[in-house]
């Protein structure tokens, strides 16, 4: 709880103070609330508000449309090579959204790769509200996929089987038993998708300006991007953003919050997926098609650009080069040290948020401590905050003369910001897994003399471990490529991968940026594969 307050509540408080007191950053408290009239007068506010809301709802719904069937297919049936699909759908998280957006631009815009190959020009689709929703969904839908499939894998099919035994048709059993069981996970996944879309900056920044779509994050960034910097205005907009995100959270609680579904009763279940039979081929084809769209196409675009000598050279053998990759290793180790920094920070963030998320979820869901609503909200809040707000909040908080030691201006501030930003993931995944545990499991352990901690360690943890692992992998993936807070908080002299790539783009070296993105994607993937392999060997049985 103390950590949670340090990580989340304090930076938030400082943003709020900045929003209320325009001169707060200078340490003065005059002119309270003077930023509010300016906010209400801003002509762009309604457009930003509705733009954000429309896109976020679109992304949440579309993510459910894609993620639910895929997650059900993965969770209920014996898909060929199940691990492969999980891995495939983790990749969108390894790709920074702005790079995905840029990759899509290189593919779809006029004279892009698609047009060079097939003559098809989808420029107008890409630069539209639909285009933004599509690109964002392809990045975000895996949260629903993972929430749904993990929940199905954890709960098994016992109850649906019972229904089948009593004469229900497969559809009926699915509709009346499985779907309701899924609803907390689905709602949690959609909420995450919604909040992710609300706080997303890269995609709307890359595609939105050209299609006249504005979102709050872009507005906030704009206030911080040109002189004079409007810190109070940016803080104000952040508060609006937080309100939207809290609205989504409230709605989700309203719909599913108090429904606890018991599906893991403690009796050992062996997960046997139902046979797919004759539909196996189409199901696999659909999954492969989605995977191709979400992963392979942008990845290819990235790699092609990384291997192209010049962009204006287009797709041709003569334009093929490895010079961008060679340059990565040549820049006096800059690129490699950035890679090292990012990967170790991501690993640390995954471990810390995993443990912290476990504690928070356990206290909220199982111990039902007082003030759990506040704790739940606190642990979700960062998901609604754009990175840049957390960044500014952390500077406001930590760069004060009164702290005896401060993480500011060291790599630790990056770690703190990642933990703060990504904490919602483990909390959501673990608590939705915990909600499915039978209410008598933990008490049973306690009756038999286990301490609360022992019960957690030996009963609860093994049961929710798959969800926790999935969440930690996601934290790792996202932290390894986080851009916005890194840009603001990286101490002088330290670079992360995303910052490195961003700088390359800024300086017009698209090829080099894409080469680095490709290298990072492959390294991250290899590391995650290794980690998965080791952990699964360790937890067999």
């Amino acid at each position: 709880m103390v950590l949670l307050i340090m990580l989340v509540a304090l930076p938030l408080l400082f943003i709020l103070l900045q929003a209320v007191f325009p001169h707060f950053s200078a340490g003065k408290l005059d002119g309270a609330f003077s930023a509010i009239p300016a906010l209400l007068k801003a002509p762009q506010l309604p457009a930003m508000f509705s733009g954000t809301l429309q896109i976020a709802i679109g992304v949440a719904l579309l993510s459910a449309v894609i993620g639910l069937p895929l997650g059900v297919a993965r969770g209920l049936f014996d898909m060929p090579c199940p691990k492969l699909w999980d891995l495939l759908f983790l990749i969108p998280f390894l790709t920074p959204p702005y790079i995905a957006a840029l990759s899509w631009m290189l593919v779809l815009q006029t004279q892009g790769y698609l047009m060079q190959l097939t003559g098809l020009d989808l420029n107008n689709l890409l630069f539209s509200k639909t285009g933004i929703v599509l690109v964002m969904t392809l990045n975000i839908f895996p949260v629903v996929y993972f929430a749904v499939s993990r929940s199905l894998l954890a709960s098994g099919q016992r109850l649906a089987m019972v229904a089948r035994v009593h004469g229900a048709t497969p559809w009926k059993a699915f509709y009346h038993i499985t779907l309701p069981l899924l609803s907390p996970a689905l709602a949690a996944g959609m909420l995450l998708a919604f909040t992710l879309a609300v706080e997303e900056y890269g995609v709307p920044a890359a595609l939105g300006t050209r299609s006249g779509v504005v979102m709050l994050t872009v507005g906030i960034e704009e206030k911080l991007a040109d002189w004079p910097i409007d810190l109070p205005g940016a803080s104000m907009l952040s508060v609006v953003l937080i309100v939207i995100a809290l609205g989504g959270w409230w709605l989700q609680r309203k719909l599913t919050g108090d429904k606890d579904v018991t599906s893991v009763s403690g009796k050992p279940t062996e997960h046997v997926g139902a046979r797919l039979g004759f539909v196996a081929v189409p199901v696999v084809l659909v999954m492969a098609a989605i995977g191709f769209l979400a992963v392979v196409l942008p990845g290819l675009s990235m790699a092609i650009t990384g291997f192209s000598a010049t962009l204006s050279g287009g797709l041709s053998l003569a334009n093929l080069t490895v010079k961008h990759f060679v340059a990565l290793f040549a820049q006096s180790g800059d690129a490699l040290s950035a890679l090292g920094t990012s990967l170790s920070l991501a690993l640390a963030a995954a471990v810390i948020t995993g443990l912290l998320g476990l504690c928070a979820a356990w206290l909220v869901v199982m111990q039902k401590i007082r003030g759990r609503g506040v704790m739940d909200a606190l642990s979700l809040m960062p998901a609604a905050l754009p990175g840049v707000v957390i960044g500014v909040g952390l500077i406001l908080l930590w760069n004060r003369a009164f702290w005896p030691v401060s993480p500011y201006n060291t790599w630790a501030i990056l770690l703190i910001s990642y933990c703060c930003l990504l904490l919602p993931w483990p909390v959501r995944y673990i608590s939705s897994a915990m909600r499915q545990l039978g209410g008598n499991l933990e008490p049973a352990a306690r009756v038999h003399g286990a301490s609360a901690f022992q019960a957690l360690r030996w009963v609860v943890l093994p049961l929710i471990f798959p969800a926790m692992l999935a969440a930690m992998l996601m934290v790792f993936a996202i932290a390894s490529r986080e851009l916005v807070t890194s840009l603001l908080l990286s101490p002088a002299g330290t670079q992360t991968v995303a910052v490195f790539i961003w700088r390359q783009f800024e300086q017009g070296s698209v090829g080099q940026g894409m080469a680095m993105a490709t290298l990072t994607l492959i390294t991250g993937l290899a590391l995650m594969l290794t980690a998965l392999g080791i952990m699964q060997r360790g937890t067999k049985g």
Partner: protein, 322 residues
């Protein structure tokens, strides 16, 4: 139990942190917008010469200024190099800057220096044109309104790029209301506003668009050196230049090192590095690899403070909003 765990973690964290804090003391901290490779070579050159370590925070002007602003309570930067002259004037008015006259400043023209800030280098805005786009080479801003360039022009977002906003102001100062007719005609011809500078140039490289209306030149010169089929064109009717102010902050704990760094950047050696980054050097006696601003017609961008900037931006935004 939980509380105990958090305390332990907190203590461990604090110990790690304090050990790191000590090692990072005693170095010069430079916040800089613009080419990272330039910042790095300047830093390592200075380090070799004086033995003083230089930590660089490099980002866009907006990010640098946001960080500076948020750090007001406990400033970290010793030196600031911005890409926008305005920021220096504003900080000067706030009294944040340390007056300093470098011995090497004598070779810098008077318009590019003041009592407490001085140009590091200069970039200019021009038309960036893809030579393989099948369009006739544009010579003037107006050429981009012709039918050849229908739906083929992009421009950086002046809300995100101070230099781009300078161009709007310069054109307004030079052409009066005709400037707004020009912007209107560009809009009619399908010009789109993209993010910051690089985002406007990338579609032109790939051929999605044929030209950028008002891009920062040095990035494109770098691209051309890499083999991209681009050309930078400065219209004879005039364009604007963007000098990059360099300044020492009053709050610095290392004033002498900071002054030595400014001296070094303005030395022939430092200015050569500036020129190698495809910028115009601030000193008139250092060779550049590209046209100098003395060869361009420069439009005045001096304006009566931030309100006019805001008005121009607002008018431009409402023109391109729908």
């Amino acid at each position: 139990m939980k509380a105990l765990l958090s305390v332990k973690k907190g203590v461990a964290l604090a110990m790690v942190l304090s050990s790191m804090m000590m090692s990072s003391a005693h170095a010069l901290t430079v916040y800089t917008a613009g080419p990272g490779s330039l910042a790095k070579s300047l830093a390592s050159g200075f380090e070799q010469k004086t033995g003083v370590k230089v930590n660089i925070f490099q980002a866009t002007t907006g990010k640098v200024m946001a960080r500076l602003e948020a750090e007001q309570a406990n400033p970290q930067a010793d030196i600031l190099i911005s890409a926008s002259w305005d920021t220096a004037e504003d900080l000067h008015n706030r009294g944040w800057l340390l007056p300093f006259h470098s011995a090497n400043a004598d070779k810098v023209p008077d318009t590019l220096k003041s009592a407490d800030f001085i140009a590091q280098g200069i970039s200019a805005l021009g038309i960036v044109w893809n030579t393989q786009s099948g369009t006739p080479e544009p010579k003037e801003w107006q050429d981009l309104t012709s039918a050849d360039f229908k739906d083929k022009v992009t421009t950086p977002d002046p809300a995100l790029s101070g230099a781009s906003l300078d161009l709007l102001i310069g054109l307004q100062n030079g052409m009066g209301d005709k400037a707004w007719q020009l912007f209107d005609a560009l809009k009619q011809n399908g010009m789109v506003v993209s993010g910051p500078n690089a985002q406007a140039v990338t579609p032109v490289m790939q051929g999605a668009k044929a030209a950028v209306f008002g891009a920062v030149d040095y990035v494109t010169y770098g691209n051309i050196a890499q083999g991209e089929s681009l050309k930078v064109i400065f219209p004879a009717s005039g364009t604007v230049i963007a000098p990059r102010p360099m300044m020492i902050l009053k709050t610095t704990q290392h004033a002498d090192d900071a002054k030595a760094f400014v001296d070094y950047v303005l030395s022939p050696e430092g200015q050569k590095m500036v020129a190698d980054a495809w910028l115009m050097p601030a000193r008139t006696d250092v060779q550049a690899k590209r046209p100098l601003f003395t060869e361009l017609k420069v439009l005045p961008t001096q304006s009566g403070g931030t309100s006019e900037r805001g008005d121009v931006l607002k008018r431009f935004n409402s023109l391109f909003a729908k």
